[in-house]
Symmetry: C2
Subunit: 600 residues, 2 copies
């Protein structure tokens, strides 16, 4: 099997760290208990392992292809998508009234992880469709919801996000695509969109493009952008498909990775105008798009966890099989499997620690989202929403940054074979490289993290989390295992130091953002990484407490968790201090900000 | 121009850091003065920029190809190689008596950097040829030298290193290729070698393969390996080419990067035996191969510097051109070039600092090598040789590890365009990925660094370098600029801390290597990286002292050096503490070493 879903670790994160019991006590989630979790994950694992994982290499070797405006997905993808649709997987998290299963995000999240680990390129299509569904449910009219959402959930149709234009990447203020009202409630859309993931393909009968465009006389900048539905095929009153709309794929990109996922250049309105329908109110398009973006950003964070885990699994398999050199401790006279060598064990343990930590944090974030949506008490909802929103840029930014490092270590474990494409390790290194870029680069996440998530509330949420970390630090200290466990001591020591670094940086950001914004934003990515490291370290502290008390129930699993927590403490957490130093010494016009444009 | 050789910074490193005056005072290097340096570098720059750089993308798009045993290099490469040969570039560092120019390694090193920065795939052919020349000069008979070396230096022929076999990668004890004596002084060689860089091609009329093989009844393991010359075409007494030898390229690899460089599977002796000639003594092959390896390892370290610089230059060019978003400090009302944004400046400055630091350290190492070869005093030679040997694994391991990070940052600066292959940034990310693997993985470098370079002399060389670092720290403190310069203060503070971390780790390695080798070797890569960071930080301290005193002579250049040193101090040097922590807490059977094979 080329991918084995880590169901046991997922259930550990769901049950012990994210707190499934709390989620299943929310209104509407009563059935989402431990048995449901096990059943859903087992079924998702089967589908991912058996149907999607074998197609991953195929997608790299036979990318989706373009000819005369038609995009044909990698062989096997269309049939796999049909099975995906029939299995009801697109609807896991969406409401039952539109055909979904209405499960909590906490249970949808491992499904997303498995989907992406087994086949990142394939999974992008459902990920974008999820975003389109979210935006329609939030801002669409009831008629729009009824027209589009059930078809998207059933997998008959898929969805896309159309933001980027050649001159407007991270800077959506520069969007030029225009939408002209036709007097009948519809619009004609004209413009060029690039980097449209699964923007054209043959896996579904229709594609629902959600498109940012400007109406006539709209204000300049981001306050003049509206959101439109532009279906590939117009939809008749009875729901059947009508005329082909004037949106055409003029090319797809030749990319470093995720080659099976067609990245389209879409031309709107070259033949008279593409028919579009306004979603929600005019000029509020960016706001609605952010609904899609936030769902998608969390999803991309899970892609980071997913590709990291897949790279880890592949490296472990190779390291157990490849025999090379005698052990350095003289414990054998002949060559041994390279997993016996300390540096290979270091690489594998580091890959594992980074991946498990990122998984734990993302699942915890998912539970906050569920509580934020469903809790009976509005204040509780607000508190959890704030924490979730603080965590989204971290889940997106940190999980994807580490996925590149993990995939690179995966290549390294393979030695020379890692550089040979047929081995397959290099695909993860190439695929992962997009994750820190799309749905907002790490810098964009970090800007959000500093601006909306830290400065706006004066660091209030950050301090709530710091207080929760303190409780875990205290619990480590008070635990019966502390005296005898090197893992407890190491995690206590390094999490305490990391927590202090994070607290200092939050204060630094609050203090200097106004007076020296350049220095703060120069350190913003480091602040995001620091938060990622400390928050994942915190999850390991919580995991260690559980593992210590349950160790006898499953010595191998919990023993591995103790060792992995220990590894995270000594290999990853110390980086917090380096990140802190890189941030707090930044000043405008000094050091890295002193180089003028001409000097570069 | 897609590549502009950084001649000014190279000359700074040569003259001010490596000390060209000291090298040009050595016997035989009298002509290697500042004028020569300038002239050689200018000419190498012209050739690299004009002839080789434009072919770099071509090599990625049209890799060298195999058909029926014949390998055809990327279009344009054969003609470029002819120009390379005619320019005398293969002989820069080799002795005049065989047709070389006999220049110091200190002046050959920037040439190697430019060659690799302009075209990494192309440069591998000369790099391997250099190794073959070194091995022949060291261990060959006079007749062998006369037969092969002038032709290799003239570029009529090229050289290869044949070590790896399918079952013998890092572990050369497993080499199975056999060599049977024919009674006439020649041998028949039989076996399969893989991963042979430029192992077959059409750029030269002959290829001189240097091959590791076992003679009958040779001892097992690495003590039974001998080195053989196996030319593609046998050489007649008069030096003309004779019969085609029984060595054939049966395939070349499909690789992640360096695609223009054919990586051959060579079959020796399938048609009766490949004629080979023993070099030096039987069973000492590994020793001779290490001569090639050490030259090649330094060369691969330079490849790291080279690809990092090229990735940096490309990212700077894009960042100056791409307009996106308003400045965060409100200094402009319209969108600006992204180089104005603090996070982009952070990425570019970090790329620059890593690259310049690695360049400086490598050039300093090259000067040590020159003194070690030519100084009149044997004790001085021995001291410098010991320092050079300590630095080689650092130059190889650290420069290549950072090149991956720099190339990845280069992609990130380009945003979505970075992921599109036509942009070209992704090529560096793919190409760089081999550098930490071939000529010994980073772990192999780190093993060497711990074993042969630290333990064997009880840390003596490490302590010599630590004492020299102390002198530079003291000089920062005593400098007139200290009080007023944030760069001086930051570098003083972080270099002091980094130096202490390195010293602690050296002691830790010395103390525990025997009792807990697994822990030491689990931390060996971190020790190598720590040394790389501190030693490069030290070069920045030395550079800062020069820049402060010369600033008025060239405010832009020296001002940039001050800023870059400051950037290295706050962005890179603090990582020393994290690395120290990851090393000194390692214990066998704890943390990352506690996971059993089954638990992975």
């Amino acid at each position: 099997m080329s991918y084995t879903a880590p169901v046991k670790d997922m259930l550990f994160a769901i049950n012990e760290l994210a707190g499934l019991d709390r989620v299943s006590s929310l209104p509407g989630f009563e059935d989402a208990n431990a048995e449901t979790a096990q059943a859903v994950l087992d079924e998702a694992a089967r589908f991912s392992e058996e149907v999607l994982a074998p197609l991953n290499v195929e997608g790299d070797r036979n990318p989706s292809s373009w000819k005369d405006g038609v995009v044909t997905a990698t062989p096997g993808f269309k049939e796999a998508f049909r099975q995906y649709a029939e299995g009801g997987w697109q609807g896991v998290v969406h409401p039952g009234e539109y055909g979904g299963q209405g499960l909590p995000k906490l249970l949808a999240t491992p499904c997303i992880e498995m989907l992406n680990a087994s086949n990142l390129s394939f999974a992008l299509c459902p990920l974008l469709t999820d975003g389109a569904i979210e935006a329609l449910l939030t801002a669409g009219t009831e008629a729009q919801k009824q027209t589009y959402v059930p078809k998207l959930i059933s997998g008959d149709w898929t969805g896309t996000m159309n933001l980027t234009e050649p001159q407007a990447g991270s800077d959506l203020a520069l969007v030029r695509t225009r939408a002209e009202p036709q007097g009948d409630g519809s619009f004609k859309v004209f413009g060029t969109k690039i980097f449209i993931t699964w923007g054209e393909h043959d896996m579904a009968e229709n594609i629902v493009h959600l498109v940012l465009a400007r109406t006539p006389n709209a204000p300049e900048g981001v306050k003049g952008i509206s959101l439109f539905i532009v279906p590939k095929f117009l939809v008749n009153e009875d729901g059947s498909l009508g005329a082909r709309n004037d949106v055409h794929c003029v090319s797809i990109e030749h990319k470093l990775g995720i080659k099976a996922s067609p990245t389209a250049v879409l031309q709107f309105g070259d033949h008279g105008g593409a028919t579009g329908y306004l979603i929600g109110e005019e000029n509020r398009g960016l706001e609605y798009m952010f609904i899609m973006m936030n769902a998608a950003r969390f999803g991309v964070g899970m892609q980071g966890v997913a590709v990291a885990d897949r790279a880890y699994q592949k490296a472990v398999a190779y390291a157990k099989e490849r025999v090379q050199s005698r052990p350095v401790d003289g414990s054998a006279k002949q060559s041994v499997a390279i997993i016996q060598h300390p540096d290979v064990r270091r690489m594998l343990a580091t890959m594992r620690a980074l991946t498990e930590g990122a998984r734990a944090l993302a699942y915890v974030a998912a539970a906050h989202s569920d509580i934020a949506h469903r809790h009976a008490d509005e204040a509780v909802r607000a508190d959890h929403q704030a924490i979730y929103e603080y965590l989204v840029p971290v889940v997106k930014g940190w999980s994807t940054e580490l996925s590149i490092e993990v995939a690179s270590l995966g290549v390294q474990v393979h030695g020379g074979m890692g550089f040979i494409e047929e081995t397959g390790a290099a695909q993860f290194y190439r695929d992962a490289r997009i994750l820190t870029i799309y749905e907002g680069t790490t810098a964009i996440q970090a800007n959000d993290f500093v601006g909306r998530k830290t400065l706006r509330d004066g660091g209030a949420v950050a301090k709530v989390l710091l207080a929760q970390i303190d409780e875990s630090i205290e619990a480590l200290w008070e635990h019966a295992s502390f005296e005898s466990s090197a893992a407890f001591q190491a995690l206590h020591r390094h999490l305490t130091a990391g927590r202090a670094a994070l607290a200092n940086v939050v204060e630094f950001v609050l203090e200097h953002a106004k007076g020296d914004p350049n220095a703060i934003f120069a350190g913003s990515v480091a602040y995001l990484k620091l938060a990622g490291i400390v928050l994942c370290g915190w999850q390991f502290a919580r995991a260690l407490l559980v593992a210590a008390s349950k160790r006898d129930e499953d010595p191998s699993f919990y023993g591995a968790k103790v060792a992995t927590a220990h590894c995270f403490a000594t290999q990853i957490l110390p980086q917090a201090l380096a990140l802190e130093a890189s941030i707090v010494e930044a000043k405008n016009n000094e050091g890295l900000l002193a180089l003028t444009e001409a000097q570069f």
